[in-house]
């Protein structure tokens, strides 16, 4: 299947809600990406996490098999270093094959409970070539 997506994605509004209510892991508050790899080969992801007041941490290395989707909770990343909850962060996601990345947040602690989702920002190739 023809690959769809981009090799470089960014999320600038990361902030994992601290409080959770309800049965876990389904209702664990979280920031999450869903990564779709339509290509026939595994996608190797390298994620760097950026903070407001200290150097970026990474790479976090994750693999998404070919023709599969994988959800990655930022809460669960611990190598090389666990992300703090309740702190602003940004993420840069680089893949060695084109993938589609969608960001979502589930906040089960605040009232009212809410969820948001949005496409991540994909790097555009300003010279017009295909990515």
């Amino acid at each position: 299947m023809e690959a769809i997506g981009r090799r470089r994605w960014t999320i600038s509004g990361g902030h994992i809600p601290l409080e959770s209510n309800g049965p876990e892991p389904a209702f664990t508050s979280r920031d999450e990406i869903a990564v779709l790899n339509c290509s026939g080969k595994a996608a190797r992801l390298r994620i760097h996490i950026h903070y407001a007041d200290r150097p970026a941490v990474g790479p976090y290395e994750v693999e998404v098999a070919g023709r599969r989707v994988r959800r990655i909770r930022f809460n669960d990343l611990i190598f090389p270093e666990a992300l703090p909850l309740g702190e602003d962060f940004g993420a840069v996601i680089e893949a060695d094959v084109p993938v589609v990345v969608q960001f979502s947040r589930f906040d089960g602690g605040a009232q009212p409970r809410n969820a948001v989702a949005t496409a991540a920002y994909a790097e555009r190739n300003l010279r017009g070539g295909r990515q």
Binding site: M1, I4, G5, G22, F27, E32, I33, A34, V35, L36, C38, R67, R68, V69, R70, R71, V100, V101, Q102, F103, S104, F106, P112, R113, N114, A115, V116, A117, T118, A119, A122, R124
Partner: protein, 125 residues
């Protein structure tokens, strides 16, 4: 004549249909939709392929979107070639022979208050 706006290849990476809802009211059942708009003058033939985390993709699911019409495709209702599993992560690749626009919406009514999310899907330029 209306200008056909959009793209022919779209993807929604974050698909999920919660299995239960707070009510039997169809409007309040947890559901997920791909809202497809065809602004062109020609019907769009659309194929949807679903991807999963632990098995081969399913599909294609075929539908048509008439000229200057919109179809709110409820993933809950798809059953040919197979039903979309509940409580399971999936992603969708939506391919059309004409430019279309795709917006994802999900209602999660498992716990009150309900959570509604909506976003434009990713389109290949």
């Amino acid at each position: 004549m209306t200008h056909a706006i959009g793209s022919r290849r779209w993807a929604i990476a974050d698909g999920y249909i919660p299995s239960s809802g707070a009510s039997d009211d169809p409007a309040l059942v947890s559901h997920e939709s791909a809202c497809i708009l065809n602004t062109g003058d020609t019907p769009a033939k659309v194929e949807v392929t679903l991807f999963f985390s632990d098995r081969e993709p399913a599909g294609p699911y075929r539908l048509s979107v008439a000229a200057r019409r919109t179809v709110h495709l409820r993933f809950n209702d798809l059953d040919d070639p197979e039903r979309v599993p509940r409580d399971t992560s999936y992603a969708s690749l939506i391919e059309s022979d004409r430019p279309i626009v795709v917006q994802q919406t999900r209602l999660d009514s498992r716990q009150p208050p309900h959570a509604l999310l909506s976003t434009i899907a990713y389109c290949q330029e």
